[in-house]
């Protein structure tokens, strides 16, 4: 008996809280993945960023619109993370926020369009395509799955489950890839056989969105 869940500003706030919880819980794992093909700080970067985001959002009044909240979250990531993931996720959330304009309640379409904008932001800034062994390999399939499910008129919660699964599949798919972007690309063929840390945190963040929406249900 799924009652169609509604996405509103409280959903965004709990999405960010869920994300913070997830990257904190997986901090060591993400850092360990980054040690293998990067510089061993991805978990710390994401934890630092989403800690600050939850703090920043806690300070906002409840009337703030979903779009505004995402813009605040994005700016907070940009100004606290540094590294590659800071500007990338920061831009992603800001673009998503802008795409929502001043809607107070979001439909599945709105959500899918917002993630579209997020993906565009990441690609505009980082110029990665799928197959480059980056967060894009998790984000792109998630967005695609979400659109597909929404068009098939599945409930948002269900659609997000599919998106999260797609993200995780994309994450696992980075293992055999040779990195063409980011630090991992310096390793050339030595980057093959390792799962991309950014794709991994991305999968966590999509799962967090699913959980936040489900909680509303």
């Amino acid at each position: 008996m799924i009652t169609e869940s509604v996405v509103q500003n409280t959903t965004i706030t709990s999405w960010m809280q869920e994300s913070a919880r997830a990257v904190t819980a997986q901090c060591d794992y993400l850092t360990q993945l980054d040690s293998a093909i990067g510089d061993g700080d991805h978990g710390l970067n994401m934890r630092r960023g989403f800690d600050s985001v939850t703090k920043a959002l806690a300070g906002q009044d409840d009337s703030l619109l979903p779009g505004r909240l995402l813009i605040v979250a994005g700016k907070t990531l940009v100004s606290t993370v540094g590294g590659a993931s800071g500007p990338l996720w920061g831009t992603a959330l800001r673009r998503a926020g802008r795409s929502l304009g001043d809607r107070a309640e979001l439909t599945g379409e709105d959500l899918a369009d917002a993630l579209d904008a997020a993906l565009d932001g990441v690609v505009d800034l980082g110029a990665a395509s799928t197959g480059d062994k980056t967060m894009v390999d998790a984000l792109a399939p998630a967005v695609e799955a979400l659109h597909h499910e929404i068009e098939a008129e599945r409930p948002v919660a269900v659609a997000l489950t599919a998106a999260a699964e797609a993200a995780e599949e994309g994450m696992r798919a980075t293992i055999p890839m040779q990195a063409h972007k980011g630090r991992a690309s310096y390793l050339g063929e030595r980057s093959i056989g390792h799962q991309d840390p950014g794709a991994t945190s991305t999968a966590l963040i999509i799962r967090a969105l699913e959980a936040a929406v489900a909680a509303e249900g």
């Binding site: 850092t31 040690s35 990067g38 510089d39 061993g40 700080d41 710390l44 970067n45 630092r48 940009v78 100004s79 606290t80 993370v81 540094g82 590294g83 590659a84 993931s85 800071g86 500007p87 990338l88 800034l125 980082g126 040779q178 063409h180 972007k181 980011g182 630090r183 690309s185 310096y186 390793l187 050339g188 030595r190």
Partner: protein, 341 residues
């Protein structure tokens, strides 16, 4: 957890999360005549900044590469440095604050090492600076020949050439060159410089508390960067002579300088390698360069762009011309490089 890290890490620190803040504060305490630390904006600024009508020179990046960049702030070199967390690019707010702090009305040059994170954060900062009406020229440094530059990589990393570009562009700015000229000189240094590094040990990021990679007693990492990342390949540990030959060949074959060209070899320590070894390696490098028909006329030997306590070294080879040589010889007064004053 943090306490354990502190107490079981063989480092002089109090709290791994505070290591950069506290170290920069110590730098400022030791060199108050040259620079000040703005703890609010998290930037290291030349004490007399902004210098009216002088092009401002700003660099920055992850920490753990000391003396880069803070040790190079002062007359004749950088106007400001933005220290990020260890091995993590600083955030745009820092670069923006630094840009404002050093803008003397002649515009500001950003010297950016080519790492995805640094490039993106500096890019966002430059956009913000433009919004505030400050003219910014960004110069990308990517001298590391260990990484092949292709559509399929993030491009070459910025390593040793950064030190040389900061010194030489700093001299150009001090001399009164305009924004385009200072940026042009920095780009020229980057075009004329190539680097290659070798690690004998890994390093320990304070927040992780353990080495990034383990290196067997009889192996070395060849083609490393400056973030403790593994190199392009592992090889059996070789003699200093063999390593020097490897380095010289890697940089010279890529730079491909004119026969008999005047060069500046920069033998850099990665942080944990003592001078006894660095000078021994330098001697081998100089011999290899001469054997290759090149003429070292200026030199730099020391640990100037490091990777925490990593044992290792890199060679940066800069092909000189009269202009670059004059600017190299010009006075510089910083914590880490000082001559002519």
């Amino acid at each position: 957890m943090m306490t354990t890290a502190t107490l079981t890490m063989k480092k002089f620190l109090n709290d791994p999360d505070e290591i950069v803040e506290e170290s920069v504060a110590g730098l400022a305490a030791a060199h108050g005549d040259l620079l000040r630390y703005d703890a609010e904006a998290r930037i290291i600024v030349r004490s007399d900044a902004p210098v009216a009508d002088k092009v401002g020179l700003v660099s920055g990046g992850g920490s753990g590469h000391e003396p880069l960049h803070g040790g190079f702030v002062g007359p004749g070199m950088l106007d400001a440095a933005c220290p990020g967390a260890v091995f993590t690019s600083p955030v745009p707010e820092q670069m923006l604050a630094a840009t404002k702090a050093v803008d003397g009305g002649a515009g500001v040059v950003h010297l950016v090492k080519n790492y995805t994170g640094d490039v993106m954060n500096f890019k966002l900062a430059a956009e913000d600076a433009a919004d505030e009406g400050i003219e910014v020229e960004s110069v990308l440094l990517d001298d590391d020949v260990a990484v092949q530059d292709s559509l399929y990589t993030a491009g070459r990393r910025g390593v040793g050439a950064t030190v040389l570009a900061e010194k030489i562009a700093g001299a150009a700015a001090e001399r009164g060159d305009d924004l385009a000229a200072v940026a042009g000189i920095a780009r020229q240094v980057n075009e004329k410089a190539r680097s290659f590094g070798v690690a004998l040990s890994s390093c320990i990021p304070p927040s992780a508390g353990k080495p990034i990679f383990d290196l067997p007693e009889d192996e070395m990492e060849v083609g490393i960067g400056i973030h403790g990342e593994p190199g392009r390949r592992r090889e059996p540990l070789a003699s200093a002579r063999e390593i020097a030959a490897l380095m010289v060949d890697a940089v010279a074959s890529d730079l491909n300088p004119a026969e008999g060209a005047k060069v500046l070899p920069f033998v850099n320590g990665m942080g944990g390698t003592p001078q006894l070894e660095l000078y021994l390696l330098y001697g081998e490098v100089e011999s290899a360069l001469r054997a290759a028909g090149l003429a070292p006329v200026r030199r730099l030997v020391g640990s100037y762009i490091t990777s925490l306590e990593m044992a290792g070294a890199s060679l940066t080879l800069l092909e000189l011309n009269d202009e670059l040589t004059t600017l190299w010889d010009a006075p510089v007064q910083t914590a880490a490089l000082r001559w002519g004053v």
